[in-house]
Amino acid sequence: MLNGYGGKILRVNLSSGKVTSEATPPEVAREYLGGRGFGIYFLFNEVPAHADPLGPENKLIISSGPFSGLLIPGAGKCDFTTKSPLTGGYASSSLGGLFTAEMKYAGLDCIILEGISPHPVYLFIDDQKVELRDASGLWGKGCITVEKELKEKLGEEFQIAVIGPGGENGVSFASINHDYGRQAGRGGVGTVMGVKQVKAIAVRGKGSIQVADPQAYRNAGKVLFKACKDSEGLKAWQTYGTTIVVSWCDEVGALPTRNFSAGSFEDGKNLYGPVMREQIVVTDKGCFGCPSPCGKYSRMKRYNSQVEGPEYETIGMLGSNLGISDIQDVAQANLLCDELGIDTISAGSVIGWAMECFEKGILTLEDTGGLDLHFGNVPSAFSMIENIAKKQGLGALLAQGVKKAAEVIGKGSEKFAIQVKGMEQSAYATHNATAMLLAYMTSDVGAHHNRAWAITYDLQVGRELVTPEKVARVIWLQHFRPMFDVLGACRLQWVELSIDRDLYMPALEAITGIHRTWQDLERVGERIWNLTRLYWIRENEGFGRVWDMPAPRFYDEPPTTGTTAGQITKLADVDRLLDMYYDQRGWDHDGIPTHKTLEKLDLLSFKA
């Protein structure tokens, strides 16, 4: 029995209906630890090269880590990994809440969905009992509606992961929803669940997790929780959550505004965290084992509705990025996306792009089905969210993601499709923040911020500078930060409560019985990073440097308003960033890991 693990990998073959389980391989646990590490290991080894993301060969891998479900701050994280229908490359999306704790208590380190069911089902896991149940009565319904229905039917103790109409209809950026407001949102993990005809997974565990040294575990856990409780930032973080960032991003020119044409929004003040707290927030909400609940339940009186959120990313993408300046409107758009099961970040990006096309005359009323898509038009934005989820009219095109939509529409709209590798950029404008720009260019899922968040570092050392030190910082973050997604815990306690990361190591040792250091873990992080790169190379003929290029807007079109007016990163500097990055990583000029690098990382057996 592996200490700190559930011990089993559950495989559900949806084509045959056969459910099997196997022991979690100890060597995989040692080398990849869990979470995102397990995800890429199984994806690379088990999904055949060039598999259709929407075909039966693709798999959806749900993986917990050694911290998941234990008394470690924020240990409610699991990872959803698949071949992305949005990008054609590696997708991994992290989910908070309570789902993974129940997985572990049921003895499961991974749930791997294989094949395609002939009809809608939901996966029912009640500890050791696993069944595929008919979900035809749930098909077509919204995420929150179905979660409520299943909880009423099965009991509150069951934790539910569910897709909405977006996933059912094949929207390329469909999300998987849980706990009425948490999502594995990015890269189309919900799309893959939908094509497999799996409406939901309900899980309850009754077991416990064996740890190597219970007393040391309790002590190390207490030290971590105490550090969180004593943090100077705790009260503010709990009060505002991620919305702390809105005013700051507006001030420093990082708040995406009107499809990232600027980084400051003239009406941004109406979206700031304290305004949201005062106007709509009802209470705080945390995930499993969280000492600093950053989730916010909000009530929108105008709409007679409520939502968990909005988070910073949603405020940026469905607020300022669409020229929308009322927090109730943004929260309602958030609710629509959650219920329909589509990613708020990608939705905000594709709609922002469509609004810019409309204002430039590239899309007309005829194209939009009569919707006035000027920036700031709230009813049109709401309608477009529904059209995307239902793949109606222009929504069917936008549902393919902004890269593909721009390729179809053309007329120069590719230049303002804000994406990298086909993934829509999340909510940090990077006209003049070179480390953050590089982080987006090189993130292993496409333009997402969570791997390396370097914008404060840009401001500390000089935002326009292009230096080896900046590049090294991005690389270090790419190895270190995603380790939280490997371990199965939230990184926000380390990040925003500033607790000492070394406090986690005694806990990991007490749980697993294996002494490790952050240096060890960063090497695991580097291996995983290179393996995800090999996956991109294997799956995409001609993969190389051009795939790491940012949206031209960030080197070609300086904003005309706001803090970053007139500021832009030069194309030559974009190239220098990549040269330095590849060089430091041991990749060639085209971004391919060299033989020597793969040998050093013991990855030669993985053929790209």
Binding site: E232, V245, P274, L492, S498
Partner: protein, 94 residues
């Protein structure tokens, strides 16, 4: 009007200016390095947060949140007698 001197509160002994030095600023996390890792500094009333940050050589753009007596304020807030001011930076995003 000249900006009054600012010193770490621990070392503050200068009585004549004490009447002006009536608020406490507590920077958190990475902002502490700009006040030589002190927990707090005593600062003058009558100036804005932004002016005070400049005087302390704390880069204003690194300060994501200003809490005055527990309430969020913008950087144009004018410091009043007895204010307790907390400054937060964001180091890691979402």
């Amino acid at each position: 009007m000249a900006f009054p001197p600012i010193k770490p509160s621990k070392n503050w002994t200068c009585c004549p200016l004490k009447l002006n030095m009536s608020a406490i600023i507590r920077p958190a996390g990475l902002l502490k390095q700009y006040i030589q890792d002190q927990t707090s500094v005593e600062v003058a009333q009558g100036f804005t947060i932004k002016e005070t940050l400049n005087k302390l050589n704390i880069p204003s753009e690194l300060v994501a949140l200003v809490l005055v007596n527990g309430h969020s304020q913008d950087k144009n807030y004018q410091i009043a007698d007895g204010d307790r001011i907390q400054l937060l930076a964001i180091v890691g995003g979402g």
